[in-house]
């Protein structure tokens, strides 16, 4: 029986590969560390002058810091989740590596997700010092339950974005250059998920579309757990809808990958 690569193995080997590669671009690596330290020091300086009572008086809520650090972690993973796999496959297409990769016996969906996860780990490590200091700062206003549920809503929101990332990656296989398609959907996701505009003020048809974007409930729940805002629906219902949407999107993404890979194979994979 031949050996088979597991998604977990692909994931940790991709982490290993990414870190080796990162350290080989020495100047960039040094600046990544410096930037990471800079953000952590910035957060530390902020903590010295941080006065939660003043924040409460001026901003209206002392949970603001918690929201900022959660928001930044979400931002940190968002780009990778949406765009990481697509650029990876684009690289493989242009070097011809995709030919070798796609003769290997693993699920394409798992390969893409494992690689996105590996990139997210890389992003997180540089973000971690600042996150920890920020967390220490928000400690007074954030309960353990709030922290865990906030993190869960971020991770699930990122997981939802990963499914979109997988779809973009599959589109790359088929259509090679998908930057414009990405921008189009990225705009829709950002506008209709309540990231910037509260859903409640949008017209009903747009609200319906908004509620079918899985990130919407993730954002709403994140705000609820970190800033104490009211959710649009009951949190239990939002969690249920959120997880169902995520599962459904996962199935759709998996189907699209296999469908578009099949289509791409009609003319060959590596002609980028």
């Amino acid at each position: 029986m031949k050996n088979i690569a597991s998604p977990l193995k692909i994931f940790y080997m991709a982490v290993w590969r990414n870190f080796l590669t990162l350290t080989r671009y020495k100047v960039n690596f040094i600046f990544s560390i410096i930037t990471s330290i800079l953000w952590a020091v910035g957060m530390l300086l902020f903590s010295l002058i941080f006065d939660s009572s003043m924040l409460g008086r001026t901003v209206g809520t002392t949970n603001y810091v918690a929201f900022i650090i959660f928001g930044m972690s979400f931002q940190c993973w968002q780009g990778t989740a949406l765009w990481g796999a697509s650029s990876m496959l684009q690289g493989e297409l242009s070097t011809g590596q995709i030919d070798y990769t796609f003769t290997c016996p693993f699920s394409r969906y798992q390969y893409i997700v494992s690689n996105i996860a590996a990139l997210a780990v890389q992003d997180s490590l540089f973000f971690l010092p600042m996150f920890c200091i920020g967390l220490r700062l928000a400690n007074t206003t954030l309960t353990i339950q709030g922290l865990l549920l906030g993190l869960a809503s971020i991770i699930l929101s990122v997981a939802a974005l990963v499914q979109f990332g997988v779809i973009f990656a599959a589109l790359t296989l088929r259509y090679r250059q998908v930057t414009a398609i990405f921008s189009f959907f990225n705009f829709i996701i950002q506008m209709l998920s309540g990231m910037f505009i509260p859903l409640q003020i949008l017209p009903v048809p747009l609200q319906i579309i908004g509620f079918s974007v899985p990130v919407t409930f993730g954002m709403d729940l994140l705000r609820h757990y970190t800033m104490g805002t009211l959710t649009i629906f009951d949190p239990i219902h939002e969690w249920t809808a959120f997880i169902l949407q995520l599962v459904l999107l996962g199935i759709v993404a998996k189907f699209i990958v296999s469908h578009l890979e099949g289509k791409a194979k009609e003319e060959g994979l590596h002609y980028a």
């Binding site: 080997m13 590596q97 070798y100 693993f106 194979k265 994979l269």
Partner: protein
């Protein structure tokens, strides 16, 4: 036992018009065989290899690799194959070393256990004379060296069937020979069936047990390299190692028994005959009479002659020109 079976495989590329790249290919490759796919540029060799390696969909027909249907059991086919594509010298991670690259591909993507992967990398590198390059970054290698890494990657997981698309294209003659010999030995020891496309006739001569010739997407010939040459040898050849025959001598030779044509090339004159062995003594006598001293031999058409014969639609190169 048959390891690769193609049954009426055809492939159409659709663009502005339909281009038929493969036309009803029937092919059988036996287990453990070193099989060469020959043909002019654009004949359809790469297309066939890519279809068998599950990278391209055939427009019709069916094929089995290792007993698995390439359309229905793609994943099972992928478990047992290795692949090195054409022009794939860039297809590894530039900022990883050769050792790291090979380890990543073998362990992460092929699931070879860590220790075995490490040992095999060491073994293969020493067999090819690549040990001192294992810790160099992939980007720092020359094109040919990169190609060696790509070939190693294709067999590192000991596949049952290995597809190599013009593996020696960018290798220098010494490295090419070393890699060829290693591949041949390694494939024999591990019972690997190798299917390679090539334009290198020396490679065919040295390693291929059987070959197939494809032209305009059609399978023209399947057999051993010797059969390939013989099939192409419509006429037998006597070679005189000089091109200074003179008109008289040329005329006399043309009148000799069974000589059909005399073609002078650079430093060699080729006499095309019906039966070279019967004509040979008479040619020697004529040369003696006319005082011509030059080495004479009965020549078999080379693989290159045979290639040209098949590529030109069954005409020898001279006639074709």
């Amino acid at each position: 036992m048959e390891e690769i079976v193609c049954n009426k495989i055809f492939k159409d590329y659709k663009g502005k018009g339909v281009v038929r790249a493969l036309d009803s290919i029937d092919l059988r490759v036996l287990k453990g065989e070193f099989f060469g796919l020959l043909g002019p540029n654009g004949a359809g060799k790469t297309t066939l290899v890519r279809i068998l390696a599950t990278l391209l969909k055939a427009s019709g027909g069916c094929a089995w690799v290792g007993g698995y249907d390439i359309n229905k059991d793609e994943k099972k086919v992928r478990r047992i194959i290795g692949y090195a594509g054409q022009d794939s010298e860039r297809s590894a991670y530039f900022r990883l070393s050769v050792r790291e690259n090979l380890f990543y591909f073998a362990h992460a993507l092929r699931g070879v256990p860590k220790d075995i992967a490490r040992e095999r990398i060491k073994y293969m590198a020493s067999a090819i004379g690549f040990e001192n390059k294992l810790d160099r970054l992939f980007i720092s290698l020359s094109g040919g060296e990169k190609q060696v890494v790509i070939i190693m990657r294709a067999i590192l997981h000991n596949p049952e069937v290995c597809f190599l698309d013009e593996p020696s294209k960018s290798l220098d003659p010494v490295t090419a020979r070393r890699v060829r010999r290693f591949l041949k030995d390694y494939a024999r020891e591990n019972d690997i069936t190798v299917c390679l496309t090539t334009h290198n006739m020396l490679e065919v001569e040295e390693v291929c047990d059987r070959i197939a010739f494809i032209n305009y997407g059609k399978l023209i010939f399947v057999g051993t390299p010797i059969e390939f040459r013989r099939r192409a040898a419509m006429r037998e050849i006597i070679e005189i190692s000089t091109d200074k025959l003179g008109d008289d001598l040329k005329r006399k030779i043309l009148k000799a028994y069974g000589v059909l044509n005399v073609v002078c090339q650079k430093n060699v004159t080729k006499l095309y005959c019906e039966d070279a062995f019967s004509t040979f003594p008479e040619v020697l006598n004529i040369m003696k009479e006319m005082g011509l001293k030059a080495p004479v031999r009965i020549a078999e058409p080379s693989l290159e002659d045979a290639f040209a014969f098949f590529a030109n639609g069954g005409k020898s190169d001279e006639e074709y020109c």
